[in-house]
């Protein structure tokens, strides 16, 4: 959550955050998000997953798969 908030310069962030609702979540934002998530959680997010990751729920799902 905090990562999304800082990265996309949001005042508030909730679970409904997604590429559609968030102005700064464009392709460059996506890139920065991947870099931040990888270093924060020590995982490698694969290109296919980068393509699928369009909302907060997607992020959580992908991270859960990685970390379980």
């Amino acid at each position: 959550m905090e990562i999304l908030k800082d990265l996309f310069e949001l005042e508030t962030v909730d679970e409904n955050c997604s590429q559609e609702t968030c102005e700064k979540w464009d392709s460059l934002g996506q890139l920065n998000l991947v870099v931040e998530l990888e270093s924060e959680f020590g995982v490698s997010i694969e290109p296919e997953e980068i393509g699928e990751m369009r909302s907060f729920h997607d992020v959580i799902r992908i991270l859960k798969e990685k970390l379980s």
Partner: protein
């Protein structure tokens, strides 16, 4: 509009917010309202050597095209190219490497022939990392990132430091401890010939460090010593130990005593007339470093290596962090001598009771020079670095100054010498029409009435050209309070005082007293 970046890869995350980017490999748009331009092309990644060679040649042509279309008063920051991924199928095929070399040569040439072009050595940045980390292929294929995005944060730090070095901002004075910092061992215990300097390790490492510091001082960084020792012992060591590289004459000032280092640093700052925020303090003792950090948070205090063999890397990092500057002017090279000549002047002053006869004895020669290609870098540097005797503290680059001249401003700089030495170019005055935009003098020539003589003489030159009155202003900063009443003392009348403390003045030239005292031998050209 802000900085505009020409690029051929995804590099947005490498630059601060607000930068604007060209399309990939696109030079069709060159926005005229950008405040500065950046050229950041990276080597294309691929396998067909002759195709790569051709692409690089194309980049050179594109660069030349853009260079020809950017105004000479707009800063143009150009990054060099580095081979990030090479799979040479035969060892002797160096075509791409050669083409990259030629591309970089083309950039460096532009830097030599165009004053607005500053070449920043990207290779020096990327070489800090293992070659295999330079590119992250996942991000290359997904987002066309030519460089690993994980390096972005480090790159932004490097970029900021580089822009500062181009603006000629750096620390001015390096204060050094002696025992176990400039030599191994403790002088008071080991004696003049017992300290480790030169010869075998660890003396070899300390001598290497001293040689490095000597060269640093030749670029205009002032060296000083702050050490807990007996002064007589140190003077003896400087005089007698044949392996020392740095001796008494290399230090502009020193404090060798048993007083605490924070007090000594304050005294050094006063004696050298340099702000403490321009100091870097190097000491092997963590307790001393901590005290200075606590008492004088504006002083930079780098960590000191535990082992003498780590000194070369420590030195490299220290220079990168505090002392790198894009070019060095003639004045910088002479700085140590000038600060020492100043000390001699202070001593001469003590011998005279009458200030006038002291000034006369100095044989002060002042010469006003109009801004030209040779002195503009120095003038820009003074606007960037002068804090105390600076009426408006406006920071300008050499491109700014060239633009002012093209707009008809009158800009003079001041060269001062006396019987103790040549202080070089140490002051300047900018007239935007009849308004004094900038008036500043380097602190090391103050205390001789030169500031008033300089101002009067410049105003007299304007009067000869038919100017009847001038306006001026004082803009307060944290450091220039000593000049808050300067224009009043020169006979200007105060017109307005703003809430923030800024003051506006004017002076009618026809009745103004613009005669300068006979002690000053002033010429202009």
């Amino acid at each position: 509009m802000s900085y505009f970046v020409f690029r051929n890869n995804t590099v947005e995350s490498f630059f601060p917010k607000g930068y604007v980017f060209s399309g990939y490999d696109d030079i069709s748009v060159i926005p005229e309202n950008a405040s500065a331009y950046v050229w950041f092309y990276q080597a294309t990644l691929g396998f067909d050597q002759s195709a790569l060679e051709n692409t690089l040649r194309g980049y050179r042509e594109k660069f030349s095209f853009v260079l020809g279309r950017i105004g000479p008063d707009k800063p143009f920051y150009v990054l060099t190219m580095e081979e990030l991924y090479a799979v040479p199928f035969t060892e002797d095929d160096k075509r791409v490497r050669r083409a990259i070399g030629e591309y970089n040569d083309c950039l460096w040439d532009a830097g030599r022939t165009h004053t607005n072009v500053k070449v920043l050595d990207f290779s020096a940045f990327i070489r800090r990392y293992p070659n295999d980390e330079a590119v992250d292929w996942k991000f290359y294929f997904v987002s066309q990132m030519g460089i690993n995005p994980r390096l972005a944060k480090d790159f932004r730090v490097w970029w900021d430091r580089k822009l500062e070095s181009v603006a000629l901002k750096r620390k001015k004075c390096l204060v050094l401890d002696l025992d176990n910092t400039l030599w191994g061992g403790v002088l008071g215990e080991d004696g003049v010939s017992g300290i480790r300097i030169g010869g075998d390790y660890p003396g070899k490492a300390f001598r290497f460090f001293q040689e490095a510091l000597l060269e640093l001082s030749r670029t205009g960084v002032i060296l000083a010593v702050c050490s807990k020792n007996n002064e007589a012992d140190v003077l003896e060591a400087w005089g007698k130990n044949p392996y020392l590289v740095l001796r008494k004459e290399h230090f502009s000032a020193y404090r060798i005593n048993w007083t605490d280092k924070a007090s000594n640093l304050r005294e050094l700052a006063e004696e050298l007339n340099i702000g403490l925020d321009s100091f870097v303090f190097v000491d092997d003792n963590p307790a001393e470093r901590e005290i200075v950090r606590q008492m004088l948070p504006m002083v930079s205090v780098p960590e000191f290596p535990r082992q003498p063999y780590e000194l070369p890397l420590f030195f490299k990092k220290m220079v990168e962090d505090y002392f790198t500057v894009y070019t060095v002017t003639e004045e910088d090279r002479k700085k140590t001598e000038q600060y020492k000549a100043n000390a001699a002047r202070v001593r001469a002053q003590q011998a005279f009771t009458d200030f006038g006869s002291y000034l006369e004895s100095l044989d002060i020669r002042m010469s006003l020079e109009e801004a030209d290609d040779f002195n503009i870098p120095r003038i820009a540097q003074m606007t960037q670095k002068t804090n105390q005797f600076n009426l408006t503290t406006r920071r300008y680059t050499d491109s700014d100054i060239r633009r002012f001249l093209s707009e008809g401003w009158k800009i003079w700089c001041l060269r001062v010498s006396d019987r103790f030495g040549d202080s070089g170019i140490t002051g300047c005055i900018f007239f935007d029409g009849t308004t004094i935009d900038t008036f500043l003098l380097s602190c090391r020539i103050l205390g001789k009435g030169i500031e008033t003589a300089f101002l009067k003489y410049a105003l007299a030159l304007l009067r000869e050209q038919g100017v009847v009155s001038v306006e001026a202003c004082y803009v307060p900063t944290a450091k220039n309070s000593q000049v808050s009443g300067f224009y009043e003392r020169c006979g200007f009348s105060l017109k307005a005082e703003e809430p923030g403390g800024a003051k506006r003045y004017s002076l009618a030239l026809q009745d103004a007293d613009l005669k300068t005292d006979k002690y000053y031998h002033i010429t202009s050209r």
